[in-house]
């Protein structure tokens, strides 16, 4: 029995390492082949080049898609964070009948098949006579970003001791002053973290953008279009690599900020819990 006990963690940690490899290996091939001279991604590499990256800024359609993605991402991040702040504050601070079902509804897009969410919105937007554009993409992205924003913000708001705000009022501060001097500084990291998370999701999101956009393409839609042409694969890999690094960077910063917020309110959890 003790033999098993000693053997188990060793076995488990090798499994954990293998699992990490399984998670990371596929993604690592994108950057590897993006600097390969050959157009087909196969081993051995035929040579190293930055040629595919140099081509990127010379593609006008790509520049347009980048702008579109930035516009959509920033708008979706701001809107969903604002809506997330309201909802997260309400959920963590107040108790009222219907609180759980409402929370469930707001979180639902997280677990529904995206295609179905996307075509449902498409139907309604067409019924309402909205012409498809970046605006409709933003509307869709906000819906799927809110659950993530809520998760980040709730972990920032949760341990927030209500007596901190009372203490501020007790020391003579007005309601607005309390918000500015206590509430905001306490939750600011969580808010920034939510903005970054939502921006990243919007930047990477494909299905909803695919259904709800008109003629303007976002970056994932641009990539999707290029995938048809085998010769353009290296360029797509280069672009994909840049997107990967952007996501890595943004999410790392977001996570660091979220932890700082959680530590302030002495609360663990967030994206993990």
């Amino acid at each position: 029995m003790t033999a098993i006990r000693r053997f188990l963690p060793g076995w488990l940690s090798s499994y954990a390492v293998l699992y990490l490899l399984f998670l990371y290996l596929p993604v690592i091939f994108l950057p590897i082949f993006s600097i390969n001279t050959a157009a087909t991604p196969k081993f051995p590499l035929s040579g190293v080049t930055l040629h595919w990256y140099e081509d990127l800024p010379r593609t006008p359609a790509l520049i347009d898609a980048t702008w579109n993605s930035l516009i959509v991402g920033v708008s979706a991040a701001i809107l969903s964070t604002v809506l997330g702040i309201l909802a997260a504050r309400s959920i963590t601070r107040y108790r009222y009948p219907g609180r759980r079902p409402i929370n469930g509804l707001i979180m639902a897009p997280l677990v529904l098949p995206e295609v179905i969410v996307a075509i449902s919105m498409l139907l309604v937007m067409l019924q309402l006579g909205l012409s498809l554009s970046l605006f409709t993409v933003v509307l869709g992205h906000v819906l799927v970003c809110i659950p993530y924003s809520m998760t980040v913000l709730t972990s920032g708001f949760e341990g927030f001791d209500r007596s901190l705000e009372e203490a501020s009022a007790d020391l003579g501060e007005s309601a607005f002053g309390t918000f500015r001097r206590v509430t905001l500084p306490m939750v600011a990291p969580a808010i920034i973290s939510s903005l970054l998370v939502c921006f990243t999701i919007s930047l990477d999101e494909f299905i909803i953008a695919f259904f709800l956009t008109g003629t303007e393409a976002t970056l994932p839609i641009y990539i999707w279009g290029q995938l048809r042409f085998a010769a353009k694969l290296p360029g797509v890999l280069a672009l994909g690599t840049l997107l990967l690094f952007a996501s890595f960077l943004l999410m790392t910063v977001a996570e660091i900020l979220r932890r700082r917020a959680a530590r302030r309110t002495q609360n663990e959890g967030g994206l993990y819990a």
Binding site: S163, S168, D170, L171, G172, S174, G177, V182
Partner: protein, 372 residues
């Protein structure tokens, strides 16, 4: 500085807080039921009771975090109706201390001063002074998250005192500290209150804390104030069994009222015979019976041939050793429950074998009559 505040104190019996017929109900539940109380200027006043008795509700209504459903509260003669917490002359030490985690010690203490727009030197001086009052000099730059429980408590105190409130409200301020630190802080808080001369209102569920620190105590049960008196009177002359029980061990003996007049009562009991006692101020007779109470430490073992003017005889059935004292359970013929006796170990009470017949002496002054 401390002397200055003290010398500014006006006549000692001025009322600082006047609570009149205050009720706070949540739907059908009454957290506070028609409470009236007046707290004097410069007094250390405690609201004592078990959790859910309404003491915190009352404190929060004085601070302005809760509003009476009916009744009124006045502080320093000013009615507090409609005055929000941030414009009341009271400051609070929260149970969780509510130290702002994003600010350091100095910034926490200066938090409320910022609104007063003092010049920088004056603000700094007042912060230093407040930190000195709570023995935190030199820790001003510490981050709030780096403080121990006791230090957080001191910061909370300094942050409230620096505002020079008319009343300092303390919500179970010592409950998060361990026993030793708690006892040390009791002494310090009492000293601090005497030094600054501000009216302190303390909420606690710990009877020893209330007894040790207060000038007067209000004991509360179920939203009602049961008794308001000095610690000594509350302990020695509780108005009913509930108060007596909450403030420590008490032997209860069934009694029949034989005679009642303005100042005294004559009671018949089985174990103690016929007893004449002072009639408590708030005594309201309820039928022909009453309860007679005596604290375990007011019964003493009579050794060998020693006698007392008043004594009862019985047999030791249990003995419990507590270091400096021993607790004896003594069966008295005629009493339905045995008596608890607390005796110091100086004379060998810890060596009395179970089963020994002993006699117990008492002072009739120690007997308390309580309404049933």
């Amino acid at each position: 500085m401390l002397e200055r505040i003290q010398s500014e104190r006006t006549q000692p019996d001025r009322t600082m807080i006047e609570i009149r017929d205050v009720t706070r109900s949540y739907g059908a539940f009454k957290a506070l039921d028609n409470a009236s109380l007046s707290i004097r200027e410069g007094e250390f006043f405690s609201l004592l009771g078990p959790s859910g008795c309404g003491k915190t509700t009352l404190l929060r209504m004085i601070a302005g975090f809760d509003t009476p459903t009916s009744g009124s509260i006045a502080v320093d003669g000013q009615p507090m109706d409609g005055i929000p917490a941030n414009r009341r002359p009271t400051n609070m030490v929260f149970q969780s201390y509510a130290i702002f985690p994003h600010l350091n010690v100095e910034q926490n203490v200066a938090y409320g001063l910022r609104r007063l727009r003092l010049d920088a030197g004056e603000e700094k001086r007042r912060v230093e002074e407040a930190l000195a009052q709570v023995s935190l000099t030199g820790l001003g730059k510490r981050r709030a998250t780096e403080l121990s429980g006791g230090q957080r408590q001191r910061v909370a105190l300094a942050r409230a005192l620096v505002m020079r409130p008319k009343v300092l409200l303390l919500d179970e301020p010592l409950s998060a500290l361990d026993k030793k630190l708690r006892e040390q802080m009791q002494v310090e808080l009492r000293r601090l209150q005497q030094a600054v001369g501000i009216t302190f209102v303390l909420v606690t569920h710990d009877q020893y804390e209330a007894l040790a620190m207060s000038d007067r105590i209000a004991v509360m049960f179920g939203g009602r104030i049961a008794q308001v008196a000095s610690p000594k009177e509350i302990y020695q002359r509780p108005v009913n069994r509930q108060v007596a029980d909450f403030l420590g061990g008490m032997n209860f003996v069934k009694a029949e009222i034989v005679e009642e007049n303005g100042a005294s009562l004559v009671l018949d009991t089985l174990g103690f015979g016929r007893v004449k006692t002072d009639k408590p101020k708030a005594f309201v007779r309820n039928g022909g019976n009453a309860t007679l109470g005596i604290r375990p430490e007011r019964l003493r073992v009579l050794w060998d041939n020693a006698t007392a003017k008043f004594e009862v005889a019985g047999k030791v059935v249990e003995r419990h050793y507590f270091g400096e004292i021993t607790h004896l359970i003594v069966e008295i013929p005629g009493l339905e429950k045995p008596l608890s006796v607390t005796e110091t170990n100086d004379f060998g009470a810890d060596d009395i074998p179970v089963g020994t017949s002993i006699r117990l002496g008492y002072d009739p002054e120690a007997l308390v009559a309580m309404a049933d």
